[in-house]
């Protein structure tokens, strides 16, 4: 007789609220504050009422003067509304990395480089006092909720940097939260009584969905602050003059798909061997009317085609890439033979998109394009299986198995992924030894990981285009070395909270126990070991680039941006 099934309550959206301590009084207070006081609660659906959104997707945080609220370059999942007091935005110049809890990286000089000859004999994970306390301009405060970084010399910052004050009722951080882009400025509390309402992205998304005024307000901010410069840099729109570009900017629609915290869900699915395209949210369906050209602003999307009962991947698109132009350009030139979407576009993880509507494309954008830049007319009868379709080129370049492998494991996220060609790798471990020698006897990767055919993707930090590890670091210890640069960890400000370790979907971050010069564990006052997050830093301090790549005698290892499939195809060329 089969065993009785275990019956559980179905998990609900708000099982884990943003702040379990959010009280009824707190919700009432927020409801009485603009813009929530002006919102029509009747417009919210019964399953997601306004009151519940505020109770479960927001929290009230207090900051003291000088405490950093958001750091320039960080990735955050929340937007903020100033409830009381004031905050200050640092405009130009941006604050020095050391003031933000980061490490100002300097290339090693000749003496530090040569010192590596004898540093290899140091105990593993040795941290000097200098490394532990490098940032003298930094203070921290820990309360019951979180660790806060405190700017030590606010008057000096006010003196040297152009800043702007924001007071009660003003929003900030919404663009970074919704588009998953890095924060563009550092904001710190400008009074001892600063009180902020922090809204996580799910709540912000729903508030925008059901309140026209908030949506219009945030879209307006988006258009004013970020859109024009982005559109100007888009190759498809480069032939437009300012007036026409403004017309396009006015008509562009914003859309977000997928799960912002995709790494946890992805890890769970990957462990169950259940990562399938059919489960990913559809952005545009194969066979649907082409509503507009999609510009991928952040995140990734999969181009797929129905085959049998499933979907086969044809390509994946990252930031800056375009989908749907072929169909719209075809229909514009060949009105008597219109076609629908040839392929499906699905969000992988979290995807933020800009959509230029078909009417605007036909009236403004397509007439501006020279004939040579228009895509060729679509020749094949709609719905037919055609392996020579243009979108199939990525598949042809690297092979179907490799493309599926890269997509299902989401390796296209890596900008410096460690790729090993198993047909050439002699397993000599020169790469591991080189890494250890370069990092004081501590290798920062494992020559092991998922493989398909002759490709092996090692467990080494990929320096992701979408670095989910950076979301939630309380001290900013994990950060980008420069805009779109290497993701590095500052050991001096890493508090060992495991936030990055848990977020990384690729198991590329390791927690290690720090030791002193005698090899003894460093412990805190409660005699618990001091742990630090470590990972590949792409030899950012070393001259000559990543030691692993330079050490491979057979050219079997490379650090590669896997979002550029051409580079991989060229590297794999038989």
């Amino acid at each position: 007789m089969p065993a009785a099934p275990t019956i559980l309550e179905r998990p609900q959206r708000w099982d884990a609220s943003f702040d379990p301590g959010m009280t009824e009084e707190g919700v009432e207070r927020v409801l009485a504050t603009a813009p929530f006081s002006r919102m029509n609660a009747e417009r919210f659906p019964k399953r997601t009422p306004l009151r519940e959104i505020l109770r479960n997707d927001t929290r009230i945080s207090k900051f003291r003067q000088g405490e950093i609220i958001v750091r320039q370059g960080d990735y955050g999942t929340s937007a903020f509304l100033v409830l009381r007091g004031a905050v200050r935005v640092v405009l130009k110049p941006h604050l020095a990395p050391s003031l933000l809890g980061r490490q100002a990286t300097k290339k090693k000089g000749i003496f530090r480089t040569l010192a590596q000859l004898w540093n290899g004999s140091r105990p593993a994970e040795f941290l000097s006092r200098r490394q532990l306390g490098r940032n003298t301009g930094l203070g921290t405060r820990q309360d019951a909720e979180a660790v806060r970084i405190v700017l030590q010399d606010v008057p000096r910052i006010l003196d040297r940097n152009r800043t702007e004050q924001m007071t009660a009722g003003e929003f900030f951080g919404e663009i970074a939260a919704l588009s998953r882009m890095a924060r563009t400025s550092t904001i710190f509390a400008d009074s001892d009584d600063a009180e902020l309402l922090e809204i996580r992205w799910q709540g912000l998304r729903d508030l925008m969905k059901y309140d026209d005024a908030l949506r219009a307000h945030i879209n307006q901010i988006y258009r004013e602050r970020a859109l024009a410069s982005y559109l100007r840099a888009t190759p498809l729109l480069q032939h437009l003059d300012e007036a026409r570009l403004e017309m396009v900017a006015g008509a562009v629609e914003f859309a977000t798909f997928g799960d912002y915290d995709w790494s946890g869900e992805y890890k769970r699915l990957a462990q169950a061997g259940n990562v399938r395209p059919e489960k990913e949210p559809v952005i545009l369906g194969e066979g649907d009317y082409p509503n507009g050209v999609v510009l991928v602003r952040a995140g990734f999307a999969r181009v797929s085609q129905k085959i049998g009962g499933g979907e086969r991947t044809l390509n994946y698109l990252g930031a800056g890439q375009v989908f749907g132009l072929d169909e719209i350009a075809h229909n514009w030139r060949s009105k008597d033979r219109p076609v629908n979407n040839q392929y499906s576009l699905r969000a992988i993880g979290y995807t933020h998109l800009l959509i230029v509507p078909t009417q605007v494309m036909e009236a403004v954008v397509l007439p501006s394009l020279p004939a040579s830049e228009l895509p060729p007319l679509i020749q094949r009868p709609e719905g037919d299986f055609d392996i020579d379709a243009p979108a199939a080129s990525a598949r042809e370049k690297v092979g179907a198995e490799t493309l599926e492998f890269l997509t299902e494991n989401r390796f296209f996220n890596g900008t410096a992924t460690m790729v090993i060609d198993l047909d050439r790798c002699t397993r000599c471990d020169d790469c591991v030894r080189a890494c250890a020698s370069t990092h004081d006897n501590n290798p920062r990767f494992l020559r092991h990981g998922p493989s398909a055919g002759r490709l092996l993707i090692a467990n080494a930090c990929m320096h992701c285009a979408d670095p989910v590890c950076m979301i939630g670091c309380p001290t900013g210890a994990i950060h980008r070395e420069s805009f779109a640069g290497q993701v590095v960890i500052n050991p001096a400000t890493c508090i060992g909270c495991k936030s990055c370790f848990n977020n990384c979907p690729y198991d590329a971050i390791r927690m290690v126990e720090a030791r002193d010069e005698r090899g003894e564990l460093l412990v805190d006052q409660e005699m618990k070991p001091i742990t630090k997050a470590t990972k590949c830093d792409l030899c950012v301090e070393n001259r000559g680039g990543p030691a692993c790549e330079r050490a491979c005698p057979h050219g079997a290892l490379t650090r590669m941006n896997l979002n550029q499939i051409d580079a991989l195809a060229k590297w794999l060329k038989p």
């Binding site: 480089t113 590596q116 397993r427 020169d430 020559r447 000559g544 330079r550 050490a551 057979h554 050219g555």
Partner: protein
Amino acid sequence: MNRFRRQILAGCLGLTAATAGALWLHLSYRARPDYAFLSGWVLLAGMFVLALYNVRKKLPFLPLGKSETWLQIHIYLGFFTTFLFLFHLNFRLPRGLFEITLAGLFVLVSGSGFLGLFFSRVLPRRLATRGGEAIFEKIPAQRHALRMEAETLALGRDANSPVIAEFYVKRLAVFLAGPRNFWPHLMESCRPVGGLLAELADLRRVATEGDRERIDQLARLVRQKDGLDYQRALQLTLRLWLFVHIPLTYGLMIFTVLHIVLVYAFSGGAQ
């Protein structure tokens, strides 16, 4: 043409040109009394550059260029110095114990290098086809885990088949105890494991329904162990040749220095 083929083409062309040039010089100047000194010093310079590659490998943190480039130079210069060695000997056999030892060391160092080159070009492809991706240092632990699993299946508390227990003790215990079939794996022969699996298949034919599943699981473990042995054999070969090549290089260097001292001590003004 990919970059590796371009490298081979450029390397072979360079090597041919350099060898042809050296041969012309050899034929032109071999009658000169100081020819042996000149060719010897050129050979020594070549050997010195060859030995520098090991220094480069020990200093991966210095910006000394890619190891891949160094290896290419090492390989083609290795071939070239072999020709230089023949020119230096003037295509005659060495005489006397010291000279024979020195020449023997040179041949062994060159030969182990060529063998290593052959292994490093042929074995990686084979490694990728069988036995999964095993890290060499972890193979003993993986083997031990397989052995424990097999022992539990055959001799554990739930096992109640004397036939399987006897087969395990007589045949499988030895196979699972340590690395096996090094040479067959190197020669790409599956005969030993095929024989063991055939014996298991014979056993399965006469086994009860309950034991068959157990035998199938044992067969799976045998295949996994064989895969580990295959990985070990090939990875060990890829490492072992260096244990010949590098120590002999040190020996060759010592004998070469002695050779120079002896030549200058006893040349008696021949130059």
